[in-house]
């Protein structure tokens, strides 16, 4: 107990003596039994508390290294008395936290038939390590003979966040920008001082802000090994990497190779500084997290962490002891085992609280709903735990609602009132409509409304739908309209990798062309896609570079390419300045109109007494939409008096979408009396700068009753 006049130093001293004094000595290190919780390595007064779980190991040894050393500094066996239940814990005093790296040796049975694969010759990475050494600088070839390739490091939690915290922007107001940290600034055209790093991304925040998006979704930034399965292209000799990073080495540690300060071990500070600066600019940060598998692969893969600590607990195993492969990457994390569930929860709480992360997108999230034998659960405990976790209470939770084992849950992912989904059906239906497929206007109407057909039946609103047309998987938006087929030869897999269901259209020529008609059509289709995405209910997500016409030259699976196929060429911002202007204005249009950003599904009824339904459907004739299979033209009008369920008043918004190859003569519905005249916000059939007007500066439409909509064009009018 403290007293008012007690000297602070005296109190510190007393606490240190009572709680943390050494009781043992092994190999010259002063020790005492540790605290089982929290797992991992935790700084305590005078020392470090090491704690690790294994339910099947016989014994455990803490292995300490000087930073980067080949041979251990010390190996300290945990005395039997230091184990409580399945947890070994030990406090080690007088360590130099700046220079120590640590790992474990676990001894236990090697009996794959029953799921055990212990190997005490391996030095294992702590699954709870907060920083990892060994891949400190991107692309530096590793020493493959290193007995301890991924090394746990200690981190300090002394970052000064000032008054920062997660922004908690309402999800219906988000506009998500999916991006890869390295790709964003690695190209020489970026002008970045430290290309490919968190620091360089920080320098580009003004660009993100000017584009107008208010959320960045970062492809994996957890520690991964770019050299996992690295190989030389058999023909070109080019090095192919694990570039995207969807293969986690450690869930708690930021990727050192993404930090300009990685070689100094300061990746934690650098990433936190980036998050803090993004928040200052009102931009949220969502992390793409990969809890479906790890980088250890199947039984042929390396043993560096989970497999050697407790294989049977961490992985889903067949009755014969092999690895289930619902991830398509060799193994499957056993997410609904209570121990694994805990590590996922601990991890996300850590990122939310220590890094102020605003949300998470879960790669192949359907796996998180499978039981330990792979069967889908109706009430998956992990998903429920995440949905109701107090620390994650305001975080966005977004599922990629399918997996590589064939479980497809778009519209049926167990949401617990919290989860949103990458809406794959939005992507597919929009792509088909945009290229002029027949029979798509009905589906288009559903997608534009936030997919009530998928989410309305169980009370989920449009915010359950993350609307996207492109993402890192597949073609870029430019390539969507420049290629019919994938061109993945650069991946060294004889063009057998990547999806074949692209729903793309090359507009008449495969790849680059000088044909001005084709190039004009491609520009229009890109603008059409941006426009429909930005006027759709739900949460729009765009892919890095689509705002300026980035191409991957027809490669729809650039997972291994550390080159121009992935790097953003910033000269496109100048070359395609008209597109960049269009896309940023389109983002501004969405932000200017609350009628586009409702939490609740539209009712197709008038509940405000305006004389108009919240949304009404039209075609070439007003009030007469053509829903037939051959229809390729659809229009809708949003009544401004119904914006956000009638809680705010907005302009009337009329959107006509024509994916027909002919120009159409369109009759426009009149807005309610007293609601003003129609103004032209967007006409993708017009050349820049008349393709879009800044919100507030739209010109009045000459003929208020009719207009011509060009082939493959979208027109947006506002009435005020």
């Amino acid at each position: 107990m403290t007293t008012a006049n007690a000297a602070p130093g005296r109190i510190d001293s007393l606490e240190a003596r009572i709680d943390y004094y050494p009781t043992h000595e092994i190999a010259g290190f002063r020790l005492r039994p540790g605290k089982p919780f929290p797992f991992g390595a935790t700084l305590v007064p005078g020392g470090v508390n090491f704690s690790i779980f294994s339910s099947h190991a016989f014994s455990c040894i803490l292995v300490l290294f000087e930073k980067g050393a080949k041979e251990p500094l010390a190996e300290i066996p945990f005395p039997d008395s230091f184990r409580i239940g399945h947890v070994w814990s030990m406090m080690v005093f007088d360590l130099d936290c700046e220079t120590i790296e640590y790992g474990y040796r676990m001894d236990g049975p090697f009996d794959p038939l029953v799921g055990h694969r212990f190997d005490k010759s391996k030095i294992l990475l702590d699954p709870y390590a907060k920083a990892v050494g060994g891949r400190d600088v991107w692309g530096t070839p590793p020493n493959w003979d290193n007995l301890f390739p991924y090394r746990g490091r200690l981190v300090f939690e002394d970052f000064d966040w000032e008054d920062d915290r997660p922004l908690e922007i309402p999800i219906e107001d988000l506009i998500i920008y999916e991006m890869h940290v390295r790709s964003f600034t690695q190209h020489s055209s970026s002008g970045a001082k430290h290309p490919g790093t968190f620091a360089a991304m920080r320098d580009k925040i003004p660009y993100i802000k000017e584009l107008g998006v208010n959320c960045v979704e970062l492809m994996p930034v957890y520690e991964f090994d770019e050299f996992e399965n690295s190989r030389l292209h058999p023909e070109t000799g080019e090095m192919l990497y694990n570039y995207w990073g969807y293969s986690t080495v450690n869930f708690f540690a930021p990727k050192a190779g993404f930090a300009a300060t990685g070689r100094l071990g300061m990746q934690v500070d650098e990433l936190k500084t980036l998050v803090k600066e993004l928040h200052k600019n009102n931009i949220e940060v969502i992390l793409d997290v990969v809890f479906n598998h790890t980088a250890e692969g199947d039984e042929r893969g390396p043993t560096f962490s989970f497999r050697g600590i407790d294989n049977k607990t961490y992985y889903m195993l067949t009755p014969e002891g092999y690895y289930y492969n619902f991830s398509g990457c060799g193994n499957t994390l056993n997410c609904n085992n209570p121990i694994v569930r805990s590590i996922v929860l601990d991890c996300l709480r850590y990122w939310a609280s220590e890094y102020h992360i605003d949300g998470f997108r879960f790669d192949l999230a359907a796996i998180l709903g499978r039981d330990p034998w792979g069967a889908p659960l109706s009430n998956p405990p992990l998903l429920e735990s995440l949905a109701f976790d107090p620390v994650l209470g305001k975080c966005k939770l977004i599922a990629e609602a399918w997996d590589a084992g064939g479980l497809y849950q778009v519209g049926s992912f167990p949401a617990f009132g919290r989860w949103a989904e990458w809406n794959g059906k939005y992507r597919d239906d929009l792509r088909c409509f945009l290229k002029g497929d027949a029979g798509k206007v009905g589906a288009l109407a559903q997608r534009i409304q936030g997919s009530p057909d998928l989410y309305g039946w169980n009370g989920r609103g449009p915010t359950a739908s993350i609307n996207f047309i492109t993402c890192h998987d597949g073609f870029t938006l430019y390539d969507m309209f420049a290629y019919n087929e994938k061109h993945n030869d650069a991946n060294g897999e004889h063009n057998n990798d990547g999806g074949n269901d692209n729903d793309s259209w090359n507009c008449g020529c495969e790849g680059e062309t000088d044909n001005p008609w084709i190039n004009d059509l491609r520009k229009r289709l890109i603008r059409n896609a941006w426009t429909i995405l930005m006027v759709s209910h739900g949460v729009p997500m765009v892919l890095m570079g689509d705002e300026m016409g980035r191409t991957q030259y027809g490669n729809n699976n650039t997972y291994c390419q550390d080159n121009d196929l992935n790097w953003l060429d910033w000269s496109l911002a100048e070359k395609n300045a008209d597109l960049l202007r269009f896309t940023s204005y389109m983002v501004a249009f969405r932000k200017a109109h609350p009628a586009l950003r409702s939490r609740y599904h539209l009712s197709n009824q008038d509940f405000m007494g305006s004389g108009y339904a919240d949304i009404s459907w039209h075609g070439e004739s007003a009030w007469n939409a053509d829903w037939s299979d051959e229809s390729r033209t659809l229009a809708f009008m949003l009544c401004g008096k119904h914006a956000k369920s009638g809680t705010v008043c907005d302009d009337y918004i009329y959107v006509a979408m024509n994916s027909h190859w002919d120009t159409k003569y369109i009759e426009i519905p009149m807005p309610a009396p007293g609601s003003g005249k129609w103004y032209v916000a967007v006409n993708t059939g017009m050349p820049s700068p008349e393709d879009i007007f800044e919100p507030g500066s739209e010109p009045e439409l000459g003929d208020q009753r009719h207009f011509l909509i060009p082939a493959y064009s979208v027109v947006v009018l506002v009435a005020r």
Binding site: D158, D160, D269
Partner: protein, 107 residues
């Protein structure tokens, strides 16, 4: 080069001259000097880094410690940092928390 840190107090301004390499082995000495300065309740802390060749993460940690120890009301000036030392401050984002100056100018 061996590390050295010298404290000079004048008009409630603590000036610490840093020389050599500030790494894990020298950080404790720097921390001592920061504590020595803190007990004299300065209104400003000026870190003269013209002759500092290298700043490791351990050194950066002491800078963060200094910021915490001095409190929000005490401005910290980092003066004369250059080359890799300045780059480290910028990459880690610490330059947002202090005043970076080429030569000391009282704000």
């Amino acid at each position: 080069m061996a590390f050295d840190a010298q404290l000079a107090m004048a008009d409630h301004i603590a000036k610490i001259t840093l020389i050599g390499s500030l790494d894990a082995s020298s950080a404790p000495r720097f921390k001592e000097v920061i504590e020595e300065a803190a007990v004299q309740s300065p209104t400003k802390l000026v870190l003269l880094m013209d002759s500092l060749d290298f700043l490791a993460s351990a050194g950066l940690r002491v800078l963060i410690f200094a910021k915490q120890k001095m409190g929000a009301g005490v401005d910290i000036y980092v003066v004369g940092s250059q080359g890799p030392v300045l780059a480290t401050l910028e990459m880690s984002g610490f330059h947002h928390s202090v005043y970076i100056q080429e030569t000391y100018v009282e704000a």
